[in-house]
Structure formats: C-alpha cells, structure tokens
Assembly symmetry: C2
Homo-oligomer: 112 residues x 2
DNA sequence: CTTAATGGTTGATAATTTTAAACCATTAAA
DNA sequence: TTTAATGGTTTAAAATTATCAACCATTAAG
C-alpha cells in the first residue's frame, strides 16, 4: 500500500476529530475540562453553561459530538452526568501520527 | 502565564487550521498536492477539478482558504497559477506542539 | 488588435451546522 | 407518591459555509 493511500485513510479517520477540535466553543469546553479541579471529577452540563456562554442543549450537543469522537466520556451519579476527558485519547495519538506522516512524505520528496 | 492560558492561545491559533484540515474535500486537495509528480511543480485550479470532483470556483475557494492558513502557496507562470504545499508549514509544527501540550497537562494531573 | 485561455470575484442558492424552546424520562428528596 | 432537579431529545429557526452561474481581468497566441 502506497504512502499516499495510507495518508488518505489517516485523513479520513481524523476528519471528525479535526472539525471537533477546530470549533472555538468546543475548545472552550475542552479547556474547562482540563482544569486541575475538574479533570478527575468531570463537569455536568449545567455547570458548563456558566463557564462557556452556551445553553444547556448546546452544551449537550457538543458533548455528544466530543464523545462520538472519543475525546470525552461520562459517568452517571444518580441523575447527574459527569463528563471528563478521555485520558490518552487514541485520536490524539493518531492525529500526531498523521502530521508526522505528512511531514515525512514532504521530506522524502524534498530530498530528490 | 498558566499552562491553561497558554493552551487556550494555542487552541485559538490552530482553530482555522484544524477546520481547514478537517474538510474531506480539502483533504483530497492536499493529497493530490502531496503526489510525487506534482509536489514540486504544483497544480493549477483547472487540473484539480478533474482529480477532485469540484467546480473551478469551489477549488479556487478552497485554495484561498488553505493559503490563508499557510498550508499552500502558489506562483504564477503567465496566466497559470501553480499551487503547491508549503514545505514544513509552521502550522503543522504548532499543531503538533498543541497536541503534546494537551497530553502533558493530562499526564501532569494524572500523577497526583 | 482580436481572440482564446486561465483563473479570480461576486452574488444568489443550497447544504450543513449550531442554537434554543419545548418536551420527555429518570432519579432523588420531601 | 408527589414534587423538584437533572439532562437528553426533537423540531424549528438562525447562522455559517460551500457551491455554482455569470462576469471580469489578465495574459498569450494568432
């Protein structure tokens, strides 16, 4: 399998993750979840509406999207859902690999 | 300056780049430009309309966007514009840095 | 100078994504 | 077993983004 075909698949696979990460609102959510005080406990939808200026359904929507992409997960305590960042997300690793591969292809052809 | 504030800035700075990379059409364009045969010569808008199934204005639009983000550049020969990938794009480096930093913050807090 | 080719721009439309209001389901507390 | 709290879902509207058709500007060739 050629390098370019491999890259094509890596790109396709990272697509949703890239757009998920690109959105400023979702970046704000991720940052909030990275905070020392919440990184283990997680945050509930209602707690986040205060931090980022978004309605509850909007936060819920973005959570769903970030979860679909494997960046966050949640656990339920009674009626409360605590959302937290997935540690060592596969997706982050894969995106790093993709970037490395892009550079590698460019470097290979640069040497000629 | 705290790690999180730094991360916030890195995120903001990578935002356009991430959405630019996330789009499947633009991924196809990047892959076409990565091809050995064109990586130095570059490709013209009209040549790309055949490779990716897009109209000329659409390709032109995506080129403009990719150029704004620093991933590609072009040079003009007569009336023809040849678009090529920027070697060692700053943005790729910065995105790699961002991913590393996110992992670092998570690892730091994991150890506690 | 005229004609053909290239590609960028503009303006209108289509498609997608984001948002919020209203509603439903589940759980905990009174 | 009511009542209040939490948060997910659905539907419609708003906003953003992508697309195309038509047009303009520039250059090369005849």
């Amino acid at each position: 399998m050629s390098d370019l075909i491999k890259l094509k698949h890596e790109f396709e696979h990272s697509s949703d993750f890239l757009v998920a990460l690109g959105d400023p609102k979702r970046q704000a959510i991720i940052l909030a979840l990275l905070d020392k005080k919440v990184i283990h406990r997680g945050l509930r939808v209602n707690e986040l509406t205060d931090v980022v200026a978004l309605s509850r359904p909007a936060v819920s929507h973005h959570f769903k999207l970030l979860k679909a992409v494997g960046l966050i997960d949640y656990h339920r305590v009674g009626t409360k859902n605590y959302y937290y960042l997935t540690h060592r997300s596969q997706q982050i690793q894969q995106l790093e690999t993709l970037l490395t591969h892009v550079q590698a292809v460019m470097d290979t052809n640069e040497r000629l």
